[in-house]
């Protein structure tokens, strides 16, 4: 059995990655999550300059999920290179840098600033953050705008470029096609949904910015549907995420057409989840006679049309 995933000639040793935003720069989880078994680590979104993030409170809990409104708080490109990358590189795990910005040039600046650094496997282009006024989802909401951005970034690197898509759209397939036509090597889906929780005693939203990013087990079917739709619209690998809190959830994504998955906010509850998801996927593959990750998608029994 070989469950590795190859994108633009580079390999992820197994399909289980940790999503951007929940893992910081990995060092934070060093004592509670086995790091070297991971198939990939997607870093906290990096912007050219440090960002302190959105006003507090930034979190709210829902049934079977949570809202976050972090606002891309991160150390910025220079501090990432000098303070965070050395540890990440030392792990021997593929490091995918999540790239974000307010304008097109921000994305370009982060990629150009990292091209001379060794130990970066690839980039995940974040065009789907719902928590910032400028950039983020504004690049990922219109196929034409997304296409222009990826065309600008594509010549800057030979490393794999994964475009992370938002579910907050009428037609995710159209966006996936636009990204792939512009040169994206893979797609990841989904980023958080837009959500809101109101405190009925204080009569105000629980999160300061009002609308925030909704994640957790509640959104699993939304993510699986997005991956299923994308897998039938494009031919590049798709990395599935959204609501995974067990190996069975991860297998749903693989059957829907994903080549790899990312674990997001469920890691907060169970820091050992990546290991149990990986073992669960391997055992399921063995039981069903799957030798590669593509065998999952081909095994889906479904005769309907889209």
């Amino acid at each position: 059995m070989d469950l590795s995933v190859t994108i633009r000639g580079k390999t992820l040793p197994n399909p289980v990655g940790i999503a951007s935003g929940v893992f910081g720069y990995a060092k934070e989880f060093e004592l509670i999550t086995p790091l070297t078994i991971l198939g990939a680590i997607y870093t906290k979104a990096i912007t050219p300059k440090p960002k302190s993030g959105n006003p507090a409170p930034r979190l709210a809990e829902t049934r079977w999920g949570m809202l976050n409104s972090i606002g891309l708080a991160n150390v910025g490109l220079e501090a990432f290179k000098t303070q965070k990358l050395p540890f990440l590189k030392s792990l021997g795990v593929p490091i995918v840098v999540n790239v974000a910005g307010g304008v097109e040039e921000d994305y370009a600046q982060v990629i150009e600033g990292l091209e001379s650094e060794e130990g970066i496997w690839g980039y995940e282009i974040n065009v789907s953050c719902p928590n910032v006024k400028h950039g983020g989802q504004t690049f990922g909401a219109q196929p034409g705008v997304l296409n222009d951005l990826i065309r600008l970034l594509r010549p800057l690197s030979h490393r794999p470029m994964i475009v992370k898509l938002s579910p907050n759209t009428a037609d995710i397939a159209q966006l996936g096609v636009a990204a792939v036509e512009a040169g994206a090597d893979a797609l990841s889906a989904i980023n958080t949904l837009k959500g809101m929780v109101i405190d009925i005693h204080k009569k105000r939203p629980k999160v300061r910015r009002g609308v925030a990013g909704f994640s957790g087990p509640a959104i699993l079917p939304v993510g699986v549907a997005a991956v299923f739709t994308l897998a039938r619209a494009v031919s590049v690998p798709i990395i599935g995420l959204g609501g995974i809190s067990s190996w069975q959830d991860a297998v749903q994504y693989l059957l829907a057409g994903a080549s790899a998955i990312q674990i997001g906010s469920a890691l907060f509850r169970d820091s050992l989840l990546p290991q149990s998801v990986l073992v669960g996927i391997q055992e399921y593959a063995a039981q069903h006679g799957f030798n590669t990750v593509r065998d999952f998608a081909q095994a889906l029994c479904w005769e309907g049309g889209l």
């Binding site: 929940v22 302190s52 930034r58 809990e61 049934r63 949570m66 907060f268």
Partner: protein, 267 residues
């Protein structure tokens, strides 16, 4: 810090509002300090998505037992209060910077510890700790209603003042806000430092009072958390310097009250 699973040793109802949970502290971890917290996984309740932070409320040096105080007010805390001895706790910790204490020799001036509601937990631990260090401790503990007031036993040399906002009271309990007690203590006794934990409005007022009296004041900010290990940036506390936001789980949960930007804190 690490994650460990340990059986609950004792669950004690200390008032109609609060339950104390006690369990063993792993031998490989250093003794925790007042102000530090644990993040508990509520594994019996799958719809409770996030772990919950709890300040440590006590430490038994001889037995290496720790305790936390829980107020049942939602599915997570209710599940914890229902737990019976022998059932397993999923613990991550200890986390966070404790209340800053440097022994500076015997002093007459007291440490004034101010707790509101469930915020009394870390101050009970702090009182115990400061007494071990030979400091003079005054505890002011405030509650909303009489049925919340816990049965507490203290060494006789810890001065305890209680307040309660509503309901019939004994003559020993001040009717009103805990800050009124604090004002009285300021007037009566020399104080060297204030430590506080409770609702944000109380902490903000405490910060103002300490500033007016030119006393150092440290507050434990009980923010909502997701990861509890410094990764997610969710538990942000606005501060007055160029850092703008600090993480309650990592740079806190104890903050110098004069550093906190209270105008930006939603009360």
């Amino acid at each position: 810090m690490r994650r460990f699973f340990t059986p609950l040793l004792a669950s004690t109802v200390v008032s109609e509002a609060y339950t104390e949970l006690k369990f063993s502290w792993p031998n490989d971890l250093r003794r925790p300090l007042p102000g530090q917290f644990l993040s508990l996984g509520i594994n019996s309740q799958p719809e409770v998505f996030l772990r919950r932070p709890f300040s440590l409320s006590g430490w038994d040096e001889a037995k290496r037992h720790v305790s936390i105080l829980v107020q049942a007010r939602g599915p997570a805390s209710e599940a914890l209060c229902r737990m019976r001895p022998g059932e397993e706790l999923d613990v991550l910790g200890p986390r966070g910077f404790p209340f800053p204490y440097t022994h500076s020799g015997p002093k007459q001036a007291a440490y004034l510890l101010v707790g509101g509601g469930i915020g009394i937990g870390p101050l009970l631990f702090a009182a115990q700790y400061l007494r071990e260090k030979g400091e003079h401790v005054i505890l002011c503990l405030g509650f909303r209603e009489p049925w919340m007031i816990p049965l507490l036993s203290f060494p006789r040399d810890i001065v305890v003042h209680l307040s309660c906002e509503f309901g019939p009271l004994s003559p020993q309990i001040h009717q009103g806000k805990v800050l009124e007690l604090v004002k009285q203590v300021f007037h009566d006794v020399p104080i060297q430092e204030i430590w506080g934990c409770g609702p944000p409005g109380m902490l903000k007022a405490l910060a103002t009072m300490s500033q007016q009296n030119q006393l150092p004041c440290y507050v434990l900010m009980e923010e909502m958390m997701a990861c509890a290990v410094g990764a997610c940036m969710g538990c942000a506390v606005a501060v007055r310097d160029e850092r703008e936001y600090l993480r309650a789980c990592t740079e806190g949960p104890v903050f110098d009250a004069s550093l906190v930007d209270w105008e930006k804190r939603w009360i």
